[in-house]
Symmetry: C2
Subunit: 448 residues, 2 copies
């Protein structure tokens, strides 16, 4: 534990990692490009609230703060589907008791992690510091204070890059790619997103069902909303950049208001500031980053979004990053703190699972946006919920990904895709939900 | 033709493009990071000689210099396969007359193109200038003179990035990727390479067959050699970085000499300076770059390796880059010089073909390195050569890729893969070449 440990990036992953390393006895210094979010209100650069589920909770349990997190979360037991006309449908995330996901404020959770890490007395956070250069063979970083512009060179035995989707450490690996044969891919969706808001009701209550993730699926685009503790909902519009219904067509107040009136009339009635929000908030793109290797020389390691940025449609970005810390923690024990063994083994066992959640997240855009408006899909979900209610050892793909932190993502993906193919085919040939032969189906599903 | 045209990169693609644009009436300024290769001996950073084939020749014909190129080339009619023991086998590239590939000096061809472009009076080359920043919305470049370090900002209506596999223009697109949804991937092989030499014989002649591409296939690694006009051969060792037979195992003189004596004894006898060459020359990695979009705002365009760097195993890197210029030239005519139409259409029609040659090149490592030592593959090649000799409308995958400049790479790949599957299966079930039922085979192949 004499290693000099440096972490670049004090976001969710970096703060959790710092806390865990401190608990294991390491002294850690964390450099963060942004100001201290506990002192200044800043944009975290990404969505305001996030879905926290079992893989993420396992990481928070590991560092002993699960109880404190309880006060920050709002359970979401299922999806509330809002069709264009007609009444809303609530679809549970699972047929079992006790399986739901949680809405949590990104900054609330991040600040809790910063506080707890600092409270160990072994973690020092240095804010407003940008990583400018990396020397991988020397274990050296050139850092610049973004306020006084002072430059310093620091050395570490162990340097973690948890600096997010635009990671400076990863960009340095890309610059040195020929030397380390660093594979990299970045792929964007044709869909963009914009955050909007449904404010709380005048009495401070929630204007929509509190304990749900709301979806307005519209074939090719959608809006979703997650609840906040203050009674508001953070709304996200996912819409193509180009095409018939697209951001490119929403440039005037008239176009914007007509678009919401046409496609989201029920939500619009709860969004008094829609035009101001739409105009003020950025339209952002959605990309998947994959790369490999994640480690260099047993002394540099990318974790979290820096190693595997995913699109948000499975609600697993933060959860996957926290699971990274859980897996690293297990390997620290297994290899007794021998980092030359831990880092290569970590990337070897972890890569296939973050590739899997990246692919699942891309696929799930279709499920949320289009399938939730498809009668066959809704029938299939009903069958699955029945299976989960009555056969507790049956887990849907969604349940395996979200609630089975004991199953690697890659296993959940492989098994889940096979289940989905069987169930969708079955549901497609069904006239009525009462006709389902559950014994036959279960038998088929067990053979996977 | 009033557009201000800037080209970044005066390598093979940039010089050919400049020449063609000048012939079409444009005034062009070309900035190149390296010194003028006509005045200083410099490393071009890549292989010394290259295989020039029909797609590349079409580009040279377009600008009217095919005859001048004749003086620079050495025809290679087929592969000379050198087994570990026993005699060499010569395998033709095609069963037809007049189909072969050509060895050409990279710098010789590049200098010819520079001279011809300059001779138009409409192209100005500026050497020792590095592109540091790009402003895509303004059409602006920040350039630095690498000798006096002076920085200047230049504007262009039309800016081409032909600055190779590590393109500065492409890197700037990657930095602005979220804005332009610029997809990028870089993937390395586990194989590296090192250039070596077989010098000319004492009398100035060739020590090996002059009109062949020599291959020493060794299951998992190989050496190849292409002839130079001075009687020497440029030799390339392709070897994994790690593993039993790998660069990592070749660190001492003893290890290096033993490796060549064990695996390449016949070649070693022609390589008197093997240890000096091996020690002095770099070990380089092999990567594939894919990206998209290639164009921004109808005013920036990536071409050549900047848009699609491929591994060298199909001998098509330069040929694909020259074909880029041919295709752009066709679109300039079709759209009457309307660049806002030309650039989007260019990337739309060209992308699938450079993806195809990228994938074919990766696959062909196996063919050159391992399959050429496989009796079934050699039998399959004999059958194919017979088909090509006797049925002039039959083209092998290799022939379609290499000699059919009228067929897009993507078509050659698709059809060629199907042919290969049929022929390999057929050859695998064959006892003797005399048993081949050519009528049956042709019928099967025609149904593809």
């Amino acid at each position: 534990m004499d290693e000099k440990v440096i972490i670049i990036g004090a976001g969710l992953c970096g703060a959790l990692l710092a806390l865990r390393l401190a608990q294991k006895g390491y002294s850690v210094i964390v450099y963060e490009r942004r100001p201290d979010m506990r002192k200044e209100t800043i944009s975290a650069g990404r969505s305001i609230n996030l879905a926290l589920s079992d893989r993420g909770l396992k990481g928070l349990e590991l560092v002993g703060i699960k109880d404190d997190v309880e006060a920050l979360i709002i359970p979401m037991h299922g999806r509330m589907i809002h069709p264009l006309s007609g009444s809303s449908t609530f679809v549970n995330y699972s047929g079992r008791q006790g399986e739901w996901i949680n809405s949590i404020s990104r900054s609330g959770l991040n600040m809790l992690l910063l506080d707890r890490a600092e409270a160990t007395g072994k973690v020092k956070f240095v804010f407003n510091v940008e990583c400018q250069e990396v020397n991988f063979s020397k274990g050296e970083l050139v850092l610049q204070d973004t306020i006084n512009e002072k430059v310093e060179t620091v050395n570490g035995d162990l340097i973690f890059g948890t600096d997010g989707a635009n990671s400076a450490i990863r960009n340095a690996m890309l610059q040195a790619s020929a030397k380390y044969r660093f594979d990299f891919s970045l792929k964007y969706l044709s869909t963009g997103y914009k955050e909007l808001e449904i404010p709380s009701a005048i009495n401070g209550g929630f204007r929509l069902e509190k304990n749900a993730l709301h979806i307005w699926p519209r074939q090719g685009f959608m809006m979703i909303a997650l609840p906040n503790l203050d009674g508001s909902f953070t709304v996200t519009l996912f819409l193509p950049f180009e095409g018939q219904h697209s951001f490119s067509k929403l440039t005037t107040q008239k176009e914007i208001m007509a678009f919401f009136a046409d496609h989201f009339p029920s939500a619009l009635s709860h969004m008094p500031d829609i035009f101001e929000d739409f105009s003020a908030n950025p339209t952002s793109s959605l990309g998947t980053v994959k790369c490999y290797p994640w480690q260099i020389n047993g002394s540099f390691l990318l974790m979290g979004d820096a190693a595997h940025a995913v699109v948000p449609f499975y609600g697993q970005g933060m959860n996957a990053s926290f699971e990274d810390v859980v897996i690293l923690d297990e390997l620290m024990d297994r290899y007794n703190g021998d980092w030359k063994k831990i880092l290569p083994e970590y990337q070897h066992i972890r890569k296939k699972d973050t590739d899997a959640i990246a692919d699942l997240a891309v696929e799930n855009e279709y499920e949320m946006r289009d399938a939730t408006a498809n009668p066959i899909f809704l029938l299939k979900r009903k069958i699955e919920l029945h299976l989960e209610q009555n056969h507790p050892d049956y887990f849907s793909k969604y349940s395996m990904v979200t609630f089975r932190e004991d199953l690697p993502y890659s296993v959940a993906m492989k098994k889940g895709r096979k289940q989905d193919a069987i169930l969708m085919e079955y549901a497609g040939n069904l006239e009525n939900i009462d006709e389902v032969d559950y014994a036959f189906l279960l038998d088929k599903l067990k053979k996977i």
